[in-house]
Amino acid sequence: MAYDTNFTGQKFKVVGTRPLRPDGLDKVTGRARYGADVSAPGQLVGRVLRSPHAHAKIVKIDTSKAEKLPGVKAVITSADLPDLTNGDAGMYDILVNCMARGKALYDGHAVAAVAAVDAATARKALKLINVEYKILPHVTDVDEAVKPGAPVLHSKMFTDGVEPKPTKASNVAKRTEFGHGDVEKGFKEADVIVERSFKTEQTHQGYIEPHACLANLGSDGQGEMWVCTQGHFVYRNTCATLLGLDAAKLRVTASEIGGGFGGKTHVWAEPLALALSRKANRPVKLVMTRDEVFKASGPTSSTSIDVKIGATKDGRITAATATLRYQGGPFLGMWAELGAMTSYACYDLKNVKTVGYEVVVNRPKVAAYRAPSAPMAAFAVESVVDELAHKIGMDAVAFRIKNAAKEGTKSSYGPTYGPIGIGPTLEAAKNHPHMKAPLKKNQGRGMACGFWFNFGGQTSTSLNVTPDGSVNVSVGTIDVGGSRASMALIAAEELGVPYENVRCVVADTSSLGHNDMSDGSRVTFSSGMNTVIAARNAKKVLIQRAAKMWDIPEEAVTWEDGHAKPAGANAGNFPPLSLKEIAAAAGNTGGPIAGHNEFVADGAGVSFATHICDVELDPETGATKIIRYTVIQDAGKAIHPSYVEGQYQGGAAQGIGWALNEEYVYGKDGRLQNAGYLDYRIPVCSDLPMIDTVILEIPNPNHPYGVRGVGETSIVPPLAAIANAVSNAAGVRMTHIPMSPPRILKALDDQAKTKAKAA
């Protein structure tokens, strides 16, 4: 749907304002119901037994003792989840991840599950399950996993995407390549070349609400599930496939969601809860512990990346390459591929080549984490860009402006850009007072850019006008951060009714057509566009009804400010009819008034951001403090600016945690050492400063209001911006994320040693 050029910013009545969110009251009073807040009569407690080994053959599972424990109503193993995936390799991986089949692939991999009358009995039952393991050699590091002689996870994994196809199994699942031009030639034209290798450690989305569901599945193949998810339709489809159900017979209702950031786009224990319920013939509530969330629900990849960029003395990049190795846990993912696609998306390059390797290791299955894979690639690329600018004596922002992609640029991953925001965010950074603020001793400033595609996807939306003239919008996309307010604003804008008269709800899977996940920053774009269309469809009906009431042709009626009006003097002289009046008469003019739409939302607008960050480094302890942070990002159009700012700030805060502190620590035994918030420390209030935001609005030409989507891009630049700031403060290039105090001290120490040697 094309951007409506008549519908410019100035003409919006309510879109772009900041009304109170509709779910606010419930959420400040404790009334909002999240995944674990709902119970069913007769419900059982579900618990999962997990492998303590990183890699082990499961020789035998004896559940007989657990089954005999009074109060235990069902025990399941992989035998209760037969393979119904019918050759769908991706679905099979999901099945294997839900419950190990023959082999445990990581510390925390599910091997059995129980349902019992209470939590204490369920815990006791887990202890009575006897699993005989044969421990296998394991590998958890992404670089170790690709070395010859590394323990191989899957004897049938032959790297995809290389010619000829290898005959030897390895941990490299797939190779992908992107780019254009001739990089060899480009490097020959360069005056200066910088080449470096980087590493980033694994982090978790860290949503405060653990995965939770209440499953009820009968022997008649009909079921219901209440669950915290970013996509209840996709959960329905996946669970139905794995359990051999008709999707229509499984009704999934999404709870309020206590954070997801990509981690709730994949099913984890939900199919187990359904299988337990089916076996026990009772509802089963299954809530993960925090330890399970860390060990067995997907974190993001750890990575190893090599970057090489060349430029002329006057600041033009002549060639750029990157080789990216991302681990996806024990399964093939598309994580390195996304990294390879996003690496150079900010720049206008003649010669560019990126190669991604999907690597498998004995760690939990990787899940999306907010602009998945882009932050690590940006860290590596933007670090080298900074160093290169420094080497040729150019200002870091000016160097980026000179090489920034613009409308008409062929992107490094293929498509040619339409109007985009990278240039404007850089200009805004250049002119921002933050850039000019003085720095004190031990302080450093860094900046970096980031890109994310944004998605569209399948969307189904229904808008109903009630008899009293208030309006209900039913969407199938989960509200992860205020989107119900945005949908209500859009419906109000279209229909010309007050925001307060619209209520938006997230409908269950039996009430709407299929909707894709709330991922890819797609909700305000896709459901927003669909709400526009649904409202316009409803408006057509309202106009028909007014025409009927006036007994004039439809063409003689227009819609303005929430009222039907005669289109001109010849149409007749009727006083305007309000939406309320037309709604009240609906019973006599043709019945309920509604508008709906089902479509694939095409044309998502790519998004760019530039972040500026000041840090203060304590050279004694290696501790870093963020003292100032500014996010500049193109939103396309901010429907509810407060929640756009919230996305910018939240993404930046997650990036700060990732850059400085968060990391999965594995022991030599392949076990996760820090599966809790005490040892996996996410930023707390006292770690952070206020986070300033600048919203730019460069309309997406494929959306009627110009919306691009804002949720993810904000996590892309922080790793790089902070690394650049720390490197500037420390006087040494930081190449390993997180830049925890020991790593910073080591970098300072190494530098001192090198200097001493040189002297």
């Binding site: 404790g30 204490a120 949503y207 405060i208 206590g258 929640y643 209030c685 952070l688 206020m690």
Partner: protein
């Protein structure tokens, strides 16, 4: 396990329950008393989502045993508003968009109220350290700090 009988006061109302001797107060509130406003983010005292007050003291209810609250006064998020009149902190959280997913919100509100009781005019730094026991993964804390500042201002009548 023999149950422990406990009489207590929750949000001003008398409450009685029988719980296991090792059962956390959080589980009692959520599973026995139907008060699901306090959330379990970790169960180990690290996230603050389960914050309540016991005799006016801020605690992580996942670290207190149900058996310990005999004769004591418990306040949860469900008792924070006065009928349909929201506490200024609750109102300011909505007005400042200080919540995204909202799972941390009950804990933050209870902790912020306890903070303002001790210090009616906290600096930004005092707010940040006062709320450092509560994790929020969505907001980056900016809008939470602003909401608390604004509520404190209003409560002081400034």
């Amino acid at each position: 396990m023999a149950g422990v009988h406990v009489s207590t006061t929750v949000n001003g109302d008398p409450a009685e329950f029988v719980c296991d001797p090792d059962e956390p107060l959080l589980d009692v509130l959520r599973n026995r008393l139907g008060l699901t406003g306090a959330k379990e983010g970790c169960g180990t005292g690290d996230c603050g989502a389960c914050s309540v007050t016991v005799d006016g003291e801020l605690v992580c209810s996942c670290l207190v045993l149900g058996a310990e609250v005999e004769g004591r006064k418990i306040e949860t998020i469900e008792g924070m508003a006065d009928g349909d009149k929201l506490h200024p902190l609750q109102r300011k959280f909505i007005e400042h968009a200080a919540l995204q997913c909202g799972i941390c919100t009950p804990g933050f509100l209870i902790a912020a109220r306890a903070l303002l009781k001790k210090n009616a005019n906290p600096t930004e730094e005092e707010i940040r350290f006062g709320l450092a026991g509560n994790l929020c993964r969505c907001t980056g804390y900016d809008k939470i700090v602003r909401a608390v500042q604004d509520a404190a201002r209003e409560m002081r009548g400034a």
